[in-house]
Every structure is written in structure tokens, then in C-alpha cells.
Symmetry: C2
Subunit: 213 residues, 2 copies
DNA sequence: CCAGAATGGATAGTCAAGCTCTCCGTTATG
DNA sequence: CATAACGGAGAGCTTGACTATCCATTCTGG
């Protein structure tokens, strides 16, 4: 297929496809002459993946590039998923030294309680988590951080389902890509369900009516 | 306190504070003369809140503005939290008509199974969730959508903790602000815990080693 | 009380991200 | 063979979030 069809098939404008090619997000098509190329269904799939990561996952194109490079590379699935998590987390906001210290300690406790192994080169995931906890403390949100243990236990339950989803993928071909998609979309989907559930639960518990501030 | 101190206290540069004032994100200080103003600790708190929403919550300033307006308004807490959820969700990406249709039906099933009340003016939260599910389908991630029920049940458990956190806030003054913070930070914190847990669980279940794609 | 620093306010400039537009010489196609 | 489409490269555009520069006051330390 050629440009126009690739564009139509994927829903991405021609100019944008060209841009992605320039940026190296989309591999070049197979040459049929010095200045003509032909694209495959894999290109359509790749475009859909890019759009899913940006539109649904909210990743900047640079992160998408890093993720795609990891997918295409021959790293282990474990390392590839590590890259995905780093990019999903993004650069951690900076917080005060002391709050970060405190948050790290809190997190350490939870990690120990749950018998998790401390992953040592502390990546963006942990830095982000620490920053979020530190921010909660700085804003006086003690109630939130007190419940960290409960959240952690539920996070394990969710992660068990996540791993089940990925483990169930025996479809050979691009297991890694599927894992990436599951991780990125899984985040959004769970967040959405949680928001819906918050509304339900708060209606039940608080009865819907509460004094005005 | 005056500008310089406000800036030092909050860690936000003077130029940026002025910008937030212009944009109406920060209320003007109390005038002491036609062209001098004095700021209160409430301004420091407000600045911290703005930074938390942008840096940790990832909200654009326009959304922060909407949230702050809601907090300052005299809507019910329920409505205010609705605004927060809308802004957290952001504009939903567009997906194909048919995939959206399918995703809506799937979501309807889950809603019914869990006995949730369908919240009718379908807001950005639901549109986003539907879009994420539709994208999963378009990318052939059936395993993910099959488990939606399990995720929903866990989401309820998480939401129960969330509501507990907010309900435990009897501290009178700015319960709504606390609820907002809990929601926004809660999202990030849970996502981080989930990522950590994924690593733990996948190490246990998959044993850390897996063939290279 | 007065010189120099700081303040509030307004306007313009900057920078990155993510496209979008325009050309242009080449290639496919009815 | 005329004309439409293609690929490639460059410049331009828009939005978001600041940052820098002025300037006419106002505060402050000696």
C-alpha cells in the first residue's frame, strides 16, 4: 500500500505520517524505486500503536520513540517493560529534601511489610511515587499516606490480574507489544473504573448530600 | 508577606507568581496602597496546590483553573469532585464509531453486574474509559477487556479506601480541597504502587526469565 | 529624609511539542 | 503523454507555560 492508503487505513493524516517517518517513529517503507516506497499492514499497526500511546496513554512522542525502540530491540521482556514504566512515569517533579526523605522511609516500610524486593537502581517509577507521597505530606494529606499499606495490598491484587492478562498471551508474535499495550491502557482503564467506583461508593456512604463546604 | 517572600516560601519564581495572578489562578493580594499588595499564608497554600496539580497530577493550567474555580465556588462537594474528575480525564481521544459502541456495551454489562447506577449525562470520565476500551479492542487486546469485571471489583475496593480517606477528614476548613488533593494524588500513588507490584508479581509468576520475543 | 532596592503591572519575548503547509523533482497511471 | 500522486525536505503555525524587560510607584536602611 502507498501513503494515501496507509493514511486512510490508520486515520492519521498524510502530513503526520511523514512527520513520524522523519522522527523515526515509523520505519521507512520498502523502496520500489529510488524515491517511492510501499508500506505494509505492519505500518498500519505501528501507527495505531503510536496513536494509542499518545492519545490514550498520554505519552509524549519522545517517550513513544523510546518505547518503540525498546520493543524493536532484543532486550528481555522484563527490561522492555521497565522502559515502558519509566516513560509512563515521566520525569519526577522535585520536592523538598526532607519530604522526600520521609516519603522514602514510608515507602520502605510498605515494601518490607509486603515482602517486596527492593529494586535497586531506583528508577523513575519510584522517584515519582516518592514525589507524590512527599507532596501529599507537604499538603497535609496525612489520611492518604496512612492508608498506603491498604493501597499497596490492593495494588498487588490488581497486578496479579495484570500479569494474568499478559501471561495469557500465547499468541506468539508480538507478546512484548501486547504487554506494553496492556500496561499503558490498563492504567487508564483502571483509573476510569476507580473514578466511576468513587462516585458509586461515595453516593452509598455519604448519601449524596453533604453540607456545602 | 510580599512578593519575594511568597515566592521563597512556595518555591515558585516571582515571574511565575505574577503569571498565575494574571491568569487568575491565584487571587490578588490585599491592597495596602494603589500599587502595593500583601499576601497571606493562604496564598502560599494555593501556590502549593497549583504546583501539586500541575507537577504531580499532570493537569494543564487551564484545568487547574477550572478546579480552583470549583473549589472556591459554593457547589456541593459532589459536584466539585465531578469537575475534578472531568479535568483529570481530559478530552477523550476519538475512536471509531463501532469500537465505541462495543465498548459502551461492555461497560454497561460491568455496570449492571456491579449494581452501579448509570450516571446519565455521560461525562469525560466515561467517554475516556470507553475510548480506552475501544482502543484495546482495536489493538486486539481481548485479554484485557475480558478481565474488566475483575478490575471493576478491585476498583470498588480501592474506591472504598478513597472514600474512607476523604470521610475521615473532619478538619472542617477545606474538606473539598483535601478531597481534590486526595483524588489527584491518589491516582498517581496507586499507579506507582501498581507498577511496583507488577514487577514483584511478574518476578514471582514468570520467574524473571522469559524467551526473547 | 533620601538613595537605592523592591514592588505591581503590563507587554513582549522565548522555548518546546506536535503538527501542518508548501515546494519540487520523480514516478506511476488511465 | 498528461496529470495525479509520491517522497522528501524545509519552513511555518499553534498552544502552553513560562521568562524577561520596562516603568512608575513605594518601601527601607543609614
Amino acid at each position: 500500500m502507498r501513503m494515501a492508503e496507509l493514511s486512510a487505513e490508520s486515520g492519521v493524516p498524510v502530513a503526520t505520517v511523514k512527520y513520524y517517518l522523519r522522527e523515526g517513529l515509523l520505519p521507512p517503507g520498502e523502496r520500489t524505486s529510488p524515491n517511492q516506497a510501499r508500506y505494509s499492514p505492519a505500518h498500519v499497526q505501528r501507527l495505531r500503536l503510536i496513536r494509542a500511546l499518545t492519545d490514550v496513554g498520554g505519552l509524549p512522542l519522545a517517550s513513544v520513540g523510546a518505547v518503540l525502540t525498546a520493543i524493536d530491540g532484543d532486550e528481555t521482556p522484563h527490561r522492555t517493560m521497565g522502559v515502558v514504566q519509566e516513560e509512563l512515569a515521566g520525569p519526577p517533579p522535585k520536592v523538598s529534601e526532607e519530604a522526600a526523605e520521609w516519603a522514602s522511609a514510608l515507602l520502605q516500610d510498605v515494601v518490607r511489610e509486603n515482602g517486596w524486593k527492593w529494586h535497586e537502581p531506583r528508577g523513575a517509577t519510584i522517584d515519582n511515587l516518592v514525589a507524590a507521597l512527599a507532596t501529599a505530606k507537604e499538603l497535609g494529606q496525612d489520611k492518604l499516606t496512612e492508608r498506603l499499606g491498604e493501597y499497596a495490598r490492593l495494588a498487588v491484587r490488581v497486578a496479579e490480574v495484570d500479569v494474568g492478562v499478559v501471561a495469557g498471551l500465547t499468541s506468539v508474535d508480538n507478546i512484548i507489544e501486547a504487554g506494553v499495550v496492556a500496561t499503558v491502557l490498563g492504567d487508564r482503564i483502571f483509573a476510569g473504573l476507580r473514578h466511576l467506583a468513587q462516585e458509586q461508593v461515595s453516593r452509598e456512604v455519604l448519601g449524596g448530600a453533604s453540607p456545602k463546604r
